[in-house]
Amino acid sequence: MIYAIVLTAIKALRRDRAALALSFMLPVAFFSIFAAIFATQHNSTPKISLIVVDQDQSTASHQLVRALEHEASLIVSERPAPKNKVAQPDYTAATAEASVKSGDSQIALIIPRDFGKNPISFGSSDGSPSIQMLNDSSDTIAPQMVGGLLQKVGMSAMPSVMAQKGSEFTGQFIGGFTPQQKKRMEENLAQLKEQEKSNPDSDTSSASGGGVIAVQSRSVIGEKKNLVCFYAAGIGVMFLLFTASGSAGSLLDESDSGTLDRVLSSHVTMTTLLAGKLAFNTLLAFTQLVVMFVWAWAVFHLDFHNHLAGFVIIGLCTAFAVAAFGMLLASMCRTRAQLGAVSTLLILTMSALGGSMFPRNLMPLAMQKAGMFTINAWAIDGFTKVFWRDLPVSALAPQIAVLLGVGTALFLVARRLARRWEFS
């Protein structure tokens, strides 16, 4: 009897392609995405975009900057990318801070004047000038990575400075060197400096240990903010996509019941019908966003009312894009079961890549770039600009343009596919 039940279930599953896809393709797709993020990307670990402002312009600061530039996990820039092929001036402390605030760079290091006079700090009270590290408090990993790398290059990129400082400390502790020892020390230091000059990029490991570069970290954004906006945006967009595809599926129901035929035999054209559904689904998605953010405000103290204009604009654009995405899925699929399978597969994949489940800045670069092909990424970036970075509405132009453009394109494709319903 059990055999008969198993046999029946196997036959039913074989004929339900949607269930088959969900059973096998979805886990494989997800496994691949997360494996790509965590396991197989040895050569493309997430890189940190770092601005360096060298106010010192000393030999030591130059050595430090060059050493940072050679770190594989950092993308170091001292000036913004050229605009219209015109080179831009070097970053200042102010422009570097603005860049971190706007999210263009993750970290900025300000190397202060006189850093080169005393770059290595042995002990806390030796008067070494501190490098300032400006960061975004939403990113808890990048500051730690940059801090660690700074110490590493400090020890490896400036061996002569390390040796000189070390001998000075040693002299203090042992009551001074003999003239013979001093002479030999100076000869060796001169030789070491010559080596550095002849091979400035060498990654010579100093034998000295315990040397550190003094760093003062400062969050330039988000210190008093609530991270809940990230989750509201990320989770919100993912569920918007599910709701929109489910709602757009009413087209399939109406096609099955014959209601679609009846509607199309009246004054309503297919374009009008789809536009009406798109408008409804956009409003539905926007209402969902409103509920989610109002809840975040009421329960998690999200600063909602001070960002109302930006929320409405990016919210409507997001709602429009996800509604059009739902329309496209519905017009692609032949049955509700197909729609369920395809939408689950696509939405979960998009959400994983687009940052709804996992911050994109922690993904490998290739994955971050792939994420830019998702609605999630652009919507989350838009909400982040509004709620986290406090940027003006004008700063949302790229997100608005992409979301509206994508929504329009998806709707036009959906309209083209819906021709199959016009004449049966």
């Binding site: 014959g258 035929d261 009846r262 035999s265 004054h267």
Partner: protein
């Protein structure tokens, strides 16, 4: 509307004598299958024209072609002289599909309001139309009931009401009584008679010959996408059988000898009965005498004029419900 592939040509301006509906040489194909092959129909003012045929004969495809839901390969369709795709034609045409094409999660009146708006109605005109339709379908007390909660018969009536919310002058009814109980069927017949009394012209498709006989002024018998006979019931019977009558006899037993005897006498076996066609009622006596002489035991016998079922059988060699 002149149709050739996807091309359509608007007909000349209508004249006052234009027929409510005129279909000429309509051809509809689905891939290699020709569902409708050169169907021509004329619906007269105030007339109820039946399209009678078995399932798959092409009745629904003809209707769907008229309302523009299938793209004909060839043929012309005119509604009061207007192209079937014109706004005037759409306003004049009402379609009651075979499927229960209503929104299940909307109430009866909400459904009617929605379909009324789709037909361009608004304001007081829409409210009046909804009230009239609820009254016509005897659904006033179910106006606020969700469509999905209505009984089968009520859903059918709501389905009909949604098709005439814009008060069309020509109504195409595609098997509106499918799956309803006899009581609901009677109610639906009353609704149709009510429409006819107001001068509405109707095309009524069915595979129930009793419905066609009861409701329709003229009947077109359709089979394999072609109209094989058209006329009043009397015309159809007369054209097929002349003045001949039918004798239906049932003999005791089911032996092969009975079938052989029936065949020798020019009759045919239909279920448990044997059927014979006779020119004169006096031939019954001779028939019964022969049966008795050949040792057949007669259980039942009746004499009647041929029905539409008989006409269909005569024309196609198949029964209507095959």
């Amino acid at each position: 509307m002149t149709l050739g592939g996807s091309m359509a040509t608007v007909l000349a301006a209508p004249v006052s004598t234009a027929l409510p509906l005129e279909v000429t040489s309509l051809v509809v194909s689905f891939g290699a299958v020709k569902a409708v092959e050169g169907v021509s129909l004329q619906l007269r003012a105030g007339e109820c024209l039946g399209l009678l045929g078995p399932n798959g004969a092409g009745k629904s495809t003809v209707i769907r072609g008229i309302v523009g839901r299938v793209l004909p390969d060839a043929g012309t369709i005119a509604v009061f002289g207007f192209s079937a795709s014109s706004k005037a034609a759409r306003e004049a045409l009402g379609w009651i599909p075979q499927e229960l094409a209503v929104y299940p999660r909307l109430t009866s009146s909400e459904n009617l309001f929605s379909f009324g708006r789709y037909h361009g109605l608004s304001g007081s005109k829409l409210a009046e139309a909804v009230a009239w339709c609820l009254d016509w379908a005897a659904l006033q007390d179910k106006a606020d009931e969700l469509a999905k909660n209505l009984s089968g018969g009520m859903k059918r009536r709501l389905n009909m009401a949604a098709g005439i919310i814009h008060r069309p002058r020509v109504v195409l009814m595609d098997e509106p009584t499918v799956g309803v109980d006899p009581q609901s069927r009677i109610r639906i017949f009353e609704m149709i008679e009510n429409l006819r009394a107001q001068g509405t012209s109707i095309v009524y498709t069915t595979h129930y010959m009793e419905e066609a006989e009861q409701l329709c002024d003229r009947i077109a018998i359709i089979d394999h996408g072609r109209i094989i006979a058209l006329g009043t019931k009397e015309d159809l019977v007369h054209n097929a059988f002349g003045s001949r009558s039918q004798v239906t006899a049932r003999f005791a037993g089911t032996s092969p000898e009975i079938a052989a005897w029936v065949e020798r006498r020019g009759g045919r076996i239909s279920g448990p009965n044997a059927e014979f066609s006779i020119e004169n009622s006096t031939e019954v006596v001779a028939l019964l005498k022969d049966a008795a002489d050949d040792g057949l035991e007669l259980a039942d016998v009746s004499l009647h004029r041929p029905t539409l079922e008989s006409v269909f059988l005569h024309l196609t060699g198949r029964e209507l419900r095959d």
